[in-house]
Structures are given as C-alpha cells and as structure tokens.
Symmetry: C2
Subunit: 332 residues, 2 copies
C-alpha cells in the first residue's frame, strides 16, 4: 500500500476535488501498476450506480426476436464499449414486463433503460416515467398524456415522400405491406402513405393494406394477395427488406416485371448482410441506419446517466429516399 486512507484513494480515483493533484497522480499510478479496479459490486452497493444499461427483452417460445435488434445492438454496443457501460438483458415473458421493469429499477440493477418497439399509449413508457429512471424510447408512442425522451426516424415523412414519388410517376393504385400495426412505426408509415394519397385525392382501400410480421414468407403471401386482387396495385411499398424478398419472389412467380408491371419501394434499415442495391432489380428505398440509432441511443442514455441530458427531449431523424431501378412510371 501507499499509506493513504481508503477515503483518499477513493476520492482520488473518482476525481473529487479535495485531493491534491500530486496525491491523485500517485494513487492513479499505483492503481494502474497493480491493475486495481474498484469492485463494482461494492461500489454499486455503496452508490447505487450500476454502470449498466438495461433492456427488458420479451422472450418466449412464440416470441421471435427481431433481426433488427442485432443491428441496433451493434450500434449501442459500439458506443457503450467506449464508455465502460455494460448492457444487461432481462428476458421476460410478455405479460410480466411491468414486474421486470419494477424489479430492475427497485434493485438499481441498471442506471438507465431503453425501450424498443413502442406501441401507442405504451404502458412501459408510462411506467418508466413514473418510476423515474433515465430511459429513452427507440421509436415513439402516441396518445400519452406526457412527453418523454425518444429517438425515432420520421417514418411518416419517409413513406409520404415515397408515395408522393410513386404518384408523380403516375401510380394511383399503391399498396402497403406494413409491419405489425400495433406498433407506432407501422401506424406512422401508414399515415404518411395515406396523407400522400389523400393529397392527390387517392385512397388506400383495405384490401391494399396488409399488416404482418416481417418475414419473407409473409411478404410473399401479402404480395400474392395484393396482385391477385381484381384491382391490383401497380406499386407496392414494403416496410422491410426481408418482406421485400418475398414480394420479389411473388412478383416473379406471377410472371410480372419490376418495374415494368410493378414498382417497388422498401424501407431499408441498413443491414450489412442484405443490401437493396443487390436485389435482382435494385431496390428503391427509404433508408435509415438502425445501427446509428443504437449508437445515438446509447450516447443519450449515457448523457442522462451523468445528468448532462434531461427532460422529455424527442429526436426525429429524417429518412433518405434512395431511388434505384425498382420504380418506373405506372403501366398504361
């Protein structure tokens, strides 16, 4: 030991001002030399700070974790790493989410949490707000009677723009293959599309709107259903690249051509392993990196933990509209 009290060591290491710079240096030095790291368990018990950010992960035999999650995680992890934050996933049955949130907050297991896939009037958001732990929602809820901190992309504008472009190309029968419509993002996308249609006095009949979980198979089925309808669309907007794989397969099966018969636009979350430009016909997309969102959420959570950010700050990212070969003028 270097004959200093525990107190001083602690203060030196934690940057408190009541230690002389020289002492601090000595302590830091010795710490580095001996590879000393304060025991987090002890520190946690004493301070209540965990150095971790939490995520309550819906789990169950019937629950499929979204492949988007891993990309979000990449971004989150990348930032977290550089700030010595660990991430704790608390797997939870769908009907016990509230209990889990209460538990991790009461036990101070994490310093902050993030919420994904929010629904309108999401109870988790209300709960977290009530519990008073730093949090950020990735996406948005709706119809809550208070503001809350979130990071979302402008889904409505994205799909509005995409639709507008298709209309300009002469399309009047435009269909939407959306994700799970209990989630806000899907609602926003639908809204954006409908508004664009309405602006040109067009409508979205129910048979031209399909909401399903985002699998290749569902994309295929939805597309067949749309195209085999008597008033088939000439353009389809699809909420995910994975579903679009199925859409393309269906279109081909029906002997139709992209973009000759059908124009196609998809939303691209930017996966490294599946790129819209590599579709048999390069895909026009609304694009926003979900990975970048993960990093930003981590950054903001860190800021909240250290008190640099507070209040119900909402952040909405614009979405790129990237035009590629999959769209063309409506067939005559």
């Amino acid at each position: 030991m270097l004959s200093l009290s525990q107190t001083t060591v602690s203060r030196a290491l934690n940057g408190y001002p009541e230690v002389s710079e020289e002492t601090r240096r000595r302590v830091m030095d010795a710490a580095k030399r001996h590879g000393y790291r304060p025991n987090p368990s002890a520190r946690r018990l004493a301070t209540g700070k965990a150095g971790m950010i939490g995520y309550v992960m819906p789990t169950g035999a019937a629950v499929d974790i979204d492949p988007h999650f891993v990309e979000f995680l990449s971004g989150l992890g990348d930032y977290a790493r550089s700030h010595d934050l660990d991430l704790v996933l608390s797997p939870t049955a769908a009907d016990e989410e509230e209990t889990t949130y209460r538990r991790i907050v009461a036990n101070k297991q994490v310093d902050a949490v993030y919420v994904s896939s929010p629904r309108p009037a999401d109870r988790r958001v209300a709960l977290l707000n009530h519990l008073g732990i730093p949090y950020i929602v990735h996406g948005r809820s709706e119809g809550l009677d208070f503001d809350y901190p979130f990071l979302d992309i402008d889904n409505e504008a994205a799909f509005h723009e995409a639709t507008r472009l298709l209309i300009q190309l002469g399309h009047t029968r435009i269909a939407l293959i959306n994700g799970d419509d209990t989630q806000t993002f899907a609602i926003h996308r639908e809204r954006g599309l409908k508004k664009a249609l309405a602006a040109s006095d067009l409508k979205l009949p129910v048979h031209r709107l399909i909401s399903v979980s985002m699998t290749e198979e569902n994309g295929y089925r939805a597309t067949r259903r749309l195209l085999e309808h008597e008033a088939a669309p000439t353009a389809i907007i699809c909420s995910s690249l994975i579903m679009t794989l199925g859409a393309v397969r269906a279109i081909r099966d029906l002997g139709l051509a992209i973009p000759g018969d059908i124009s196609l636009v998809a939303h691209d979350d930017v996966f490294p392993w599946l790129k819209p430009e590599n579709f048999s016909v390069p895909l026009s997309t609304t694009r926003s990196s979900i990975r970048a969102a993960g990093a930003r959420v981590a950054e903001r959570l860190a800021a909240r933990i250290s008190g640099l950010e507070s209040g119900p700050r909402g952040e909405i990212w614009p979405v790129d509209l990237v035009v590629r070969g999959s769209i063309a003028g409506a067939p005559v």
Copy 2:
C-alpha cells in the same frame, strides 16, 4: 417486521435447513406479501454470486454482429427467463477481449459465460479454463491441450452427408461457399465435404472453395466466380441461407436453372424470417436450430452455476439433412 433476526430471514428465504418449516413459511409469506426481494447488489457483495450470465461481445465500427446471434439469444433468453437469470453483454474491442474476460471474472460480475464463434486454439477458451469460471463454448475450438465444455452441431457429418448425396446423384464437381474459415465450424464443414469427396476419389480444387463472411452479396459474388470458371461446378453447398440468397440470384443472372444446371444445398440455422422451403426452388438443407442451441447452452450454464454439471463435457448435436427440390442428378 415479524420479529425474527435478519439471519433467520435470510436462511428461510435461501432454503437453508436450520429453520423450522413453519418459520420458513411465515417468512416466505411475509416476503411475498410485502413484495420483498433481497437486494441483488448486497447479495452479490456478500456471496459473490451475480445471478447473471455473461457474453463478451466483439464490437466496433467494422464489426458486424452476426444475425444468427439474435436467434441464439432467443433461445438463451427463453431459458434464462424461467430461471431468473439475466444476461450481461460486455461490448469489447476485438483486441481487448482478454482484458474484458479477466475483468468480469475478477469482479464476479457474472456467474458463467458463453463463448461463440470459436476458432482453432481459441485463446478465450484457454483463458476461461485458466480463470476457472463456469463457461460453455457454443461451437468448438481445436488443438487445445485440454478438454472443455462445449455444445456444437456435427458440421462435419452434416456436410459429409450432403456431399455424399450429391455424389450419389452423379455430381463430381462440387463447390463449397463457406463462412469465415478462421472459425472452426467452417473448417469442420470443409473437412466433411472433402472427406466425402475423397471417399469417391474426388478432390476440391482451390478455385472451388470460397470462404467469405456470410452476406447476400458475398454469396452472389462467390457463385458467379465459381460458375464463370472454366471447370464450373454442377453442385454448390453453401454455409448459410443468407449467402444462398445471393447464390440463387447469381445462378439466375447467368441464365442457369436449379436444379437442372446447378444443384444447391445450404445450411439452415432455422430463422423464423427466412425459410428454405420458400426459396423460388425449395432448398435442400442441412438443418439445425440455433435457437434450440441457445436454450441448451443456457440450461447447461445454469447447471454449472449450481454445480449440477462440471467437467469438460462436450455435446455434439446431429444435423438433419432435409431434401427438397434444389438438388437433382448431375447434368449430362
């Protein structure tokens, strides 16, 4: 309070034998009634048990987390949930993995860890073995001078079988589009294929073996390269469904037919969002659920934590060979 010492309460709750059954019941009762849960931070400091299993997650701008990870996580989470285990992900730069492992072990942040994507002579395995924390390797290393606990699928047999079938169908020029060949799974697959070829006096020339990271784009490029070679293969085995998407696209671009010109077999990790039977031509696959593996790893980790399992037990799962329309006799 119910006028019992802290000691007794602790013992009652933790199932120690030196409390009368009646007292235990009383305590349990009161605990439930007041929603009392021992503070994990305190318990952790006292016992050294964290109630968490850890994963050191390679992270960085250039690091793409494998989409398989999320499926594995589904399984792991599903089991962990039912046993009140949380999962902590420690994001780490590629060159600091060792430091991170040492840290989480020294600090007792987790009770057990799992290792994924092992390479031959994997240093992480050696390290964990040395550190003496419960762990399980998902996959296998090779050339280590000690045994270790793992869960792996029989990649070698799977690819051996697949190859044998293709040979029986008359194929002699069989190519392999493999994943990253620094990882053991890829080595095993290559080995299985080569052994099957050798058994029929066939070879795998270098131009017919491609190792790349498993993206759609790489699958496309690899396939084109294979098929544009003068001695093009008549059958291709592909290490992942995602790469196979690219392979199918390349085959179509070249105006070739499946299985008329090219037979195709892929390994299927069983994603809910992309199924081999839904490819334009239903894909023959070697199949093994990575999700089930995740659940099993969690189960075994839990067993190790509680001392029910120990020693270097290796578990190798057989792989299904599922024949669908994508293979046929070699073209004459």
